[in-house]
């Protein structure tokens, strides 16, 4: 009960602190509004090259030494597309799907075993489908791959139609027909009525779990980043009262009461966590009411919110444990939060990154949280955000552990 009394006292002080409330609640909403307005009009923005896992199971065809499936893979790997696609060959279909499921690729392209057979064969009824197995969060990347593969298949279909037309004209005349006649026959064959057109097609699939239909608005993406960023400051504001009270004498006075040191410091820890949790809840509600943001499934939202509060609280307490004065804590904390925000992507408003930046993002707890919010807003549930919850949770536990160790020595 004393722990709660201390937490309640701090919460009441925070609510009465108007500048702190502005920082915790108004600033993130205002920034999200401004940045959302600045980027308004676009539904989302993806800036990174899409990772593609390619498996060609094509067995080839006796009719041609060229394996058509390899041509598909080769085009995906073309240097001309390197700015938008990063294709990697994988041994088989199962491995490509696993790459998508594990988050190592956004799209898997699977060329079936009978691809060359259909392309080079003379069975007009034979069909083959190139499978695109897509991460539902990778909309633009998936569209690009679909476009490229679709174009390749269309070329193959066109070539088949041209060949079929030429063969048909030649059969009719028994000699070399004029090119125009061949072209006309090919066009007819390429048409849907000709029945040759769509021998090659795309089958689009997504992972069963987490198939999403939601899009993430720009404001939603930005506010999730801003929320995590300002939760750092919200937690710091409350945690700093430990040093303020030490300086002002109320902490030493608390230590002269029969209340145990552990209870006093524990009360402070609880107040930090509860305050920043409430901050998150208010921002989530405000985001919903003001900007119409759909934060996603409740299970994912709850987990992400709790873990975000834990990360923000733990980090704030860790900084306080080592700082000597409130001013020092403020300066150090601000620097750390800014660096984490820059590395974690809080300001970019996107969870889709690649290359070195993607690796660096994963070194920060907020980077994982932003990814988690992105998944949640796209309809992902608790299972889909499990890593985006567990990894930051690990950070939070570590922060709290070292904060407790240090505080015990300092306030023994």
């Amino acid at each position: 009960m004393k722990v709660l009394a201390i937490a309640w006292k701090d919460l009441r002080s925070t609510v009465r602190n108007v500048p702190a409330l502005v920082m915790m609640l108004v600033a993130p909403l205002a920034l999200a509004s401004l940045l959302g307005f600045a980027f308004g009009g676009s539904e989302s923005f993806e800036i990174a090259a899409t990772k593609v896992a390619v498996a060609t199971e094509d067995q080839g065809s006796p009719a041609s030494p060229t394996v058509a499936g390899c041509m598909v893979a080769g085009i995906l790997e073309s240097p001309d597309l390197k700015d938008v696609l990063r294709a990697t060959r994988v041994k088989d279909a199962a491995a490509t799907r696993k790459a998508v499921d594990d988050g190592d690729a956004a799209v898997a392209v699977i060329v079936p075993a009978d691809f060359s057979q259909v392309v080079y064969g003379d069975d007009p009824t034979a069909t083959a489908q190139v499978e695109l197995y897509e991460n539902p969060t990778s909309e633009v990347g998936g569209s690009i791959v679909e476009g490229v593969v679709g174009q390749v298949l269309a070329d193959f279909n066109g070539a088949r139609a041209a060949a079929a037309g030429a063969v048909a004209v030649r059969s009719d005349d028994g000699g070399d027909p004029p090119a125009a006649q061949v072209a006309a026959a090919a066009a007819e064959a390429f048409s849907h009525d000709g029945g040759v057109a769509s021998v090659l097609d795309i089958a689009q699939r997504s992972p069963k779990v987490g198939k999403t239909e939601n899009e993430v608005s720009v404001t939603g993406a930005i506010l999730s980043g801003m929320m995590v960023f300002f939760m750092f400051f919200g937690a710091a504001n409350v945690a700093r009262t430990i040093l303020t009270e030490d300086r002002d004498g109320t902490m030493p006075r608390l230590f002269t009461t029969p209340t145990r040191h552990g209870t006093i410091i524990g009360g402070k820890f609880v107040s930090v966590f509860v305050t920043v949790l409430l901050q998150a809840v208010v921002l989530l509600i405000a985001g919903r009411l003001i900007f119409g943001i759909d934060w996603g499934r409740i299970d994912a939202v709850v987990l992400l919110t709790l873990v975000a509060a834990g990360v923000a609280g733990g980090l704030a307490l860790l900084i306080i444990a080592f700082a000597k004065t409130p001013a020092q804590a403020g300066a150090i904390g601000s620097g750390i939060y800014l660096v984490l925000a820059l590395l974690g992507g809080n300001f970019t408003g996107t969870a889709q990154t690649s290359g070195t930046y993607a690796v660096v993002q994963k070194l920060t707890p907020n980077g994982w949280l932003i990814q988690g919010w992105d998944t949640a807003m796209r309809g992902g549930g608790a299972v889909d955000v499990r890593w985006q919850v567990l990894v930051p949770l690990g950070f939070a536990v570590a922060f709290f552990f070292f904060a407790v160790l240090r505080m015990r020595r300092r306030f023994a």
Partner: protein
């Protein structure tokens, strides 16, 4: 019976070469007594109280408070004591009532008992009308009263007051001192630290004089003053020929001793009231005029001066 027994208490910051703030201080406080620790700033008074409050661990020695050791039974000690720190230690954005309620909870009070006790303390510190006002809106004297009120919530057996009247107006100081005397009348034991000689003299049953971490004298006011004798000190200046006048004054009945210090004569006498008229008569008879005369009764300032060679800075 002693409720506080301090035995060779010692505190050194950052041993072995750090500052020795308290160097083997020992004293007892009887139940229901007001005991003052008197000394200049930096003498070790606050450090002593911090150790007795279990805020600082002693480097050596121990103290028993209410039968509990400050070193081994700190929790039990804290339940017995109330501490009024030198600086105001309240939450400025909370009202007087909110502060008292919160601190009451920290002292283990709850529910109706807490509510009732908060009301009683508000009455005691005469702030019942301002109970809902934020503490940061209070005057210095009012803040001090709340500061004291917090320490009384759990009805401690021993109350420590660390320079509680520093920086406040005389009226508020008077009010606080009267409050302390009223608490003693109710049987509370009080340890009071101050560098104000007059306060120690007025309040205390016994006084411990500390300087540079050591207890240099201990006793009632009368016992301490006896260290410097009970004679009054009269200083006088004349318009001319001071040495001749000093010779004459040595002959005046009631004057025990006459010295010349710079440009004034210093006389010691058992009864200044009787001697003063004779000094004026002697001066007139010698054709001299007394231009300045000063009488100082024996006091703790003189005791401190006598023991340390330095003034007790007010």
């Amino acid at each position: 019976m002693s409720i506080v027994e301090v035995q060779e208490l010692r505190k050194q910051y950052d041993p072995p070469k750090g500052v020795l703030a308290v160097d083997g201080v020992s004293f007892d406080i009887a139940e229901g007594e007001i005991f003052s620790l008197l000394g200049p700033n930096g003498a070790g008074k606050s450090t002593t109280i911090s150790m007795l409050s279990c805020l600082l661990k002693p480097t050596g020695g121990d103290a028993m408070v209410g039968g509990n050791s400050i070193v081994h039974q700190a929790q039990a000690v804290k339940e017995t004591i109330g501490v009024v720190p030198q600086d105001i230690a309240l939450y400025p954005d909370m009202s007087a009532r909110e502060n008292l309620t919160f601190w009451g909870r920290m002292y283990g009070l709850s529910g109706d008992a807490l509510k009732k006790r908060v009301e009683e303390v508000l009455e005691l510190i005469t702030l019942i009308d301002r109970q809902k006002d934020r503490v940061d809106k209070f005057s210095g004297g009012m803040k001090r009263r709340v500061n004291i009120g917090v320490a009384l919530l759990h009805k401690p057996k021993v109350l420590y007051l660390d320079e509680p009247t520093v920086g406040i107006d005389p009226q508020s100081r008077r009010s606080i001192l009267d409050g302390i005397l009223a608490l003693r009348a109710q049987g509370m034991t009080i340890l009071y630290t101050t560098h104000y000689m007059a306060v120690a003299q007025e309040l205390s049953d016994r006084i411990g004089i500390v300087d540079n971490g050591k207890m240099i004298a201990l006793g009632s006011h009368e016992e301490l003053v006896r260290i410097v004798g009970q004679q009054s000190r009269v200083t006088a200046r004349v318009d001319h020929y001071l040495e001749g006048m000093a010779e004459r004054w040595r002959e005046v009945p009631g004057v025990e001793k006459v010295d010349i210090e710079e440009d004034e004569a210093v006389l010691l006498t058992d009864d200044a009231n009787e001697v003063l008229p004779r000094l004026f008569e002697a001066a007139a008879a010698a054709g001299s005029r007394i231009t300045e005369i000063n009488v100082r009764e024996p006091n703790l300032e003189m005791v401190f001066l006598h023991l340390t060679g330095r003034a007790l800075r007010e």
